[in-house]
Amino acid sequence: MIKILNALIAVVGGVAGAILLYWLLNKLAELLPGRWEDRVKPYLFLLPALAAIGLYLVYPTIQTFVYSFANNRSTEFVGFENYAKLLTSKTFQNTLFNTFLWILIVPASVIAFGLLIATLADRLRPRGEKTAKTLIFLPLAIGAVSAGAIWKFVYATRPPGQNQIGLLNGIWTAFGGDPVNWLQISTLRFNSLLLMVMLLWMQAGFAMVLLSAAIKGVPTETLEAARLDGAGEGSIFFRIVIPQIRTTIITVFITVLIGVLKTFDIVYVMTNGNFNTNVIAVDFFNQLFTNRNNGFAAAIVVMLLIIMIPVLVFQVRQFRAEEAAR
């Protein structure tokens, strides 16, 4: 009861407070002489939003940047020591390499799978298409940690002689193999690939839905014209469909890419970065919350930010270009 009351007070009080604030700001602007009132008013109205962004986004970013040059308890500056130590450590180099593998492999395969499924489903009868799409889309609704719980049963390993509860080992041992510790095989980063399969499984549905809609949006006239000109299915797909859905592909690619850079839960739940599967976000978490090393954690975040910037710039440019073309 008290909670409901609190919520009500918060809602009413919040809205009333906002109105009062803007009313005051407006009054303040009206005190100014004529022309100045018009000049200042927009900025005054922008002020609360800017202040919020400054407080919750800009300030922490800069503070993180500053902390990345300080020691583990953020009490003294140490120059570039954090970066130097991280970048020369073999473990962190491996972590970076894994992260690049994720960036290289996952978005591209998500697009490939999404396109494949979208194109194939497009050829099914409506009922079949709906069923297929629903099934593929389903994993998207599952959280990463729950996905981890599911996939643990796929990769699970029990010592030889015991019942294998893992799907992969169940199949493997049925064919006479000895149980394999899938997530411990770091040769050629096989275990990282197994973890990437999980993200692929989760994200393929998302790519499929957007790409499928785009494919359906390709005008039939162009397709018919191509067919009349004697184009095969292959060249229709690559020369007509793909160029027309290019912007959707890029949007999906960037969304997945940003998701990949933030990948944390899958790795944390499945291996916690053990067996050479560490990625940058898990390393950041462990540096901050296990090792309590603010300096390393901040330096890792700054590096992540630097990796992200080109992606963001590209996305903004792309968006502008699209707007301009409209």
Binding site: I62, S74, A156, P159, Q184, N274, F275, T290, N291
Partner: protein, 436 residues
């Protein structure tokens, strides 16, 4: 417009940067203890389930008899929360520290009451001395143990083990090695071993290393190693890993082989012990595996008849070192009589006799505690190992800095056992991760 907005943005950014640059925290400082002197006291702790329920029952009865109101605050993230609360001037009156490291930090900052004059000398003397010493900083008693756990226990299947030649507990580490080899020669692996524990994978391996370090070198060297007065990759540690290699990791010593250890959950790793014929005969782990979720239910239902226990032996038959852990009680509100009385009660003979010991979720740190109070003989024997120990030390990884104790030590031991790193690389990595 474009230029102007870029200009405005850079000015804003620049201004914020100027305002914040050089802002570092002043370090440590700030915050304080607790000046509460009322009869309403708050107690904070990390343990859960049966251990928590039994504890509340025990303390509530005391509180009722003494006209005190106790507020119970459980936190599974005890270490972070206590730090935050101390910094915010909101420390609880009494804290039951699950790990000694953070308690020593607080004592160093002068936040904890000196218990030497509060707890009776006779009570202090009845507690396990190793655990009492863990509560001392610079010779002063800032915390006392109010619950312990024992980690250097070997569990074995009673009937099957006798047939395999385990008729009496090994008296020395050499005996244990000989026994392991004897069992291995019959074609069955002597040991069960698993170190998988979700995000905390690796800690059971660190317990093994600590246990062998303690047995080989005694508590003095052990504590020096834990406090980094000798380097982590000291030759003594390398020898210990070598020993562990022969005892556990060599072919035919562990059920499922070396490769299976890192993916085998520590809770259920011992279960092949109860198969017929057993997959392995011995499992070294803390007293907490003998509960639901660990040993199979049918074993737990008849624990005393199916499971035997012996302590990890010392180097000689006279040595009885025990590796364990426990919760340490300290007082933040230094002038609060009720808080003092509560801690006095926790150290007293009566504490735990009101049904808490019967739950089996708690082991008393008092060496004169009546072991028949425990629900099973197994638990009684385990408690006796601790009471009769010649040395009792706390889990070392819990006392090391987080980077090592719950970071590199776990991870590099996992990498070593699963074959990703050799022993030397693993030890060197841990040493280099130690914060300066």
């Amino acid at each position: 417009m474009r230029i102007r907005s870029t200009f405005a943005a850079s000015v804003t950014l620049g201004a914020v940067a100027l305002l914040t640059t050089g802002c570092l925290s002043s370090g440590g400082g700030g915050g304080g203890g607790n000046s509460n002197t009322s009869k309403n006291i708050e107690i904070m702790y990390a343990f859960t389930t049966d251990q928590e329920t039994g504890f509340k029952g025990e303390v509530n009865k005391w509180a009722k008899d003494n006209g005190v109101t106790v507020k119970f605050t459980q936190s599974s993230d005890f270490n972070s929360l206590i730090n935050t609360r101390v910094q915010g001037n909101d420390a609880p009156d009494v804290a039951l520290f699950p790990q000694p490291g953070i308690m020593k930090d607080m004592a160093d900052q002068g936040l904890l009451a000196d218990l030497s004059d509060i707890v009776d000398k006779s009570d202090l003397d009845s507690l396990i001395q190793g655990a009492v010493e863990t509560g001392q900083v610079n010779g002063k008693q800032y915390a006392i143990p109010m619950s312990i756990n024992v980690k250097s226990i070997v569990f074995y299947p009673k009937k099957a083990a006798a047939a395999a030649g385990l008729t009496q507990p090994p008296q020395t580490l050499d005996d244990l090695m000989a026994l392991s080899k004897k069992i291995a020669s019959t074609g069955t692996t002597p040991w069960c071993f698993g170190i998988e524990s979700g995000a905390a994978t690796g800690w059971p391996a660190t317990d093994w290393v600590e246990n062998l370090m303690l047995i080989n070198n005694g508590s003095d060297v052990y504590n020096q190693w834990v406090q980094h007065k000798i380097p982590f990759n000291d030759p003594k540690v390398a020898e210990t890993l070598d020993q562990m290699d022969q005892l556990l990791l060599a072919d035919g010593m562990t059920n499922g082989g070396r490769k299976s250890i890192a993916s085998n959950n520590f809770n259920t790793a011992a279960n092949p012990m109860f198969d017929n014929p057993p997959g392995c005969y011995m499992y070294r782990q803390g007293n907490f595996v003998a509960k639901s979720g660990g040993f199979p239910d049918k074993v737990l239902a008849d624990l005393d008849n199916t499971v035997g226990v012996f302590p990890m032996p010392g180097k000689t038959a006279e040595d009885k070192p025990v590796l364990g852990g426990g919760d340490l009680a300290g007082i933040f509100s230094q002038d609060n009589q009720s808080a003092k009385d509560l801690v006095k009660f926790l150290a007293s003979k009566d504490y735990g006799t009101n049904g808490y010991a019967k739950t089996g979720a708690w082991i008393s740190p008092r060496t004169d505690f009546d072991t028949s109070q425990y629900p099973t003989q197994v638990l009684g024997s385990i408690a006796t190992f601790a009471y009769e120990s010649t040395e009792f030390v706390f889990d070392g990884s819990d006392q090391m800095p987080g980077e090592v104790g719950s970071g590199s030590f776990w991870k590099d031991m996992t990498a070593w056992i699963s074959g990703q790193e050799d022993a030397k690389t693993a030890l060197d990595n841990i040493e280099s991760s130690w914060p300066s």
